[in-house]
């Protein structure tokens, strides 16, 4: 495209900036997933001490839980949007050609922008019925893709002249590649969509806060 040598260098630097930014967002998302895991454990332990024996967060954490549930759908939409824009940046601007596994992950991710955007506007927590199965498929593909990146010899022992899906385009913090970031995106969307709760309904159940959590937790299973 008529880029000067300097232009090419700047572009490489831009790509580096963007991939580092995406990688840091992925680390942030991973942190959120770990916090959710810790809180789930807390809920199970705390719940086992209550009368109902069902998992429930301590009352002190309920406002946080509801706050997250309330913004979960817009956040899930933003995660899908970030993943989609990031993936389009990597293919259309950075010119990394998407491999076939990337395309199948895109098939799952891109529609989430529309689905979760509409669900956030409609405040429809039942969108989990449509989003979660799709992103779990995406998560499975992302894990498989990450594994063949890490262990290319599980698929083949040598390369032919076609570039395989196991080529690593981005490698940040010694563990984050493109499918790893996509996988974190899928997991985030799944968790956020499952955490989403209807504020109005929760408000009506104000007195029985403990039940708000299990309602969503059970549909997870």
């Amino acid at each position: 495209m008529g880029l000067s040598a300097t232009g090419t260098v700047n572009k490489a630097m831009d790509v580096d900036t963007v991939t580092l930014f995406l990688a840091m967002l992925a680390v942030l998302g991973l942190g959120f997933l770990l916090v959710c895991l810790v809180f789930s454990v807390v809920a199970v332990i705390h719940g086992s001490r209550t009368a109902s024996k069902r998992p429930a967060l301590p009352a002190s954490l309920q406002p946080l839980r509801l706050g997250i549930g309330q913004v979960a759908l817009p956040l899930a939409f933003l995660v899908a949007l970030t993943c989609t824009v990031g993936s389009l940046y990597l293919s259309e601007v950075a010119k990394f050609p998407p491999c076939i596994l990337c395309w199948y992950q895109r098939i799952v991710m891109y529609p989430q922008v529309i689905i979760l955007g509409i669900a956030a506007l409609r405040r429809d927590v039942l969108v989990k019925w449509y989003s979660v199965p799709l992103v779990l498929i995406g998560l499975a593909i992302a894990i498989y893709h990450y594994l063949i990146e890490r262990f290319p010899s599980t698929v083949s022992f040598s390369c032919t002249d076609d570039v395989p899906c196991s080529t690593v385009w981005v490698w940040k913090f010694h563990f984050l590649s493109i499918p790893a970031m996509a996988g974190i995106g899928f997991a985030l969307i799944a968790v956020l969509t499952l955490l989403a709760c209807n504020v109005d309904r929760s408000a009506q159940n104000n007195s029985e806060l403990d039940s708000a959590e299990p309602t969503n937790k059970n549909e997870d299973a």
Binding site: L20, F21, F157, S158, P164, V199
Partner: protein, 252 residues
């Protein structure tokens, strides 16, 4: 979480305050904190990548592949082939072809005359009286990316027999593929064997009958092929083969 503050504009706050009192505030705080953290991360990403110097220039020995790569002027170069190409690689499921099944064993491979990254000439001449291992690699191939550092580690541990030379041939260079340019890769791995650059048509690879990447051709001091292999050969097996090649020469 401080539930008493009422600053900021949560689009949902007005809608839900009536029924839930202060609770929507938590959502606002979460969104605000997320946005702040994301902005900070963006700034960090920007400044980290602008200030990076990529000063990977460690002390690298003279006359090695990595040293030539540091003065890289080219990533591909012309190759001259003198002699008949090697027999085709046999259809096999194992990475290391049993010598009895390989029609190339006993053949003399052609002489390759080419250049390294810095333009210095590299010649792979089977008849120069030294046993040698020629390793064909492609920079974008994940198997080569795994194998090259393993081989270098094996060399660094002092395992390479003194009477066996190593050569690498960088072939199938693809500008728009990962780990380009190969010279940077060679520097990063501190790869010591001399590297010959193949031409865009893969002339050197074809002359040696390359079936896939990575690809190994071992020959004795008489210039005859003793062993071929292709794929991510376990480093122990690679070591055993090279050590055997070395001791064979010492004995004869």
């Amino acid at each position: 979480m401080n539930e008493q503050k009422h600053e900021g504009a949560d689009p949902y706050a007005n809608l839900t305050n009536r029924t839930t009192g202060n609770r929507p505030k938590t959502g606002l705080i979460i969104v605000g904190a997320t946005v702040a953290v994301v902005l900070v991360l963006g700034a960090v990403a920007f400044f980290v990548t602008r200030s990076e110097n990529n000063a990977d220039t460690a002390a690298i020995e003279n006359d090695t592949g990595a040293q030539a790569a540091q003065n890289a002027k080219q990533e591909q170069a012309s190759v001259t082939v003198i002699g008949e190409p090697l027999a085709a690689y046999p259809q096999t499921s194992s990475m290391v072809v049993p010598p009895g099944e390989d029609p190339a064993v006993g053949q003399t491979p052609p002489v390759l005359e080419g250049f390294s990254f810095d333009g210095s000439p590299v010649k792979i001449d089977p008849a120069d009286g030294r046993a040698k291992v020629v390793i064909f690699v492609a920079h974008w191939c994940p198997h080569c990316q795994v194998e090259v550092p393993l081989i270098q580690e094996w060399i660094d541990e002092g395992n390479q027999p003194e009477n066996v030379d190593f050569y690498a041939v960088s072939t199938s260079v693809k500008r728009d593929q990962p780990n380009y340019p190969p010279s940077k890769w060679v520097i990063k791995e501190g790869f010591t064997p001399k590297v010959m650059l193949d031409d865009p048509a893969g002339t050197a690879a074809q002359a040696y009958g390359l079936p896939g990447f990575p690809y190994f051709v071992m020959m004795d001091s008489g210039g005859k092929v003793t062993q071929r292999a292709s794929g991510e050969v376990p480093i122990d097996q690679f070591g055993t083969l090279v050590t055997a090649l070395g001791s064979q020469q010492a004995a004869s």
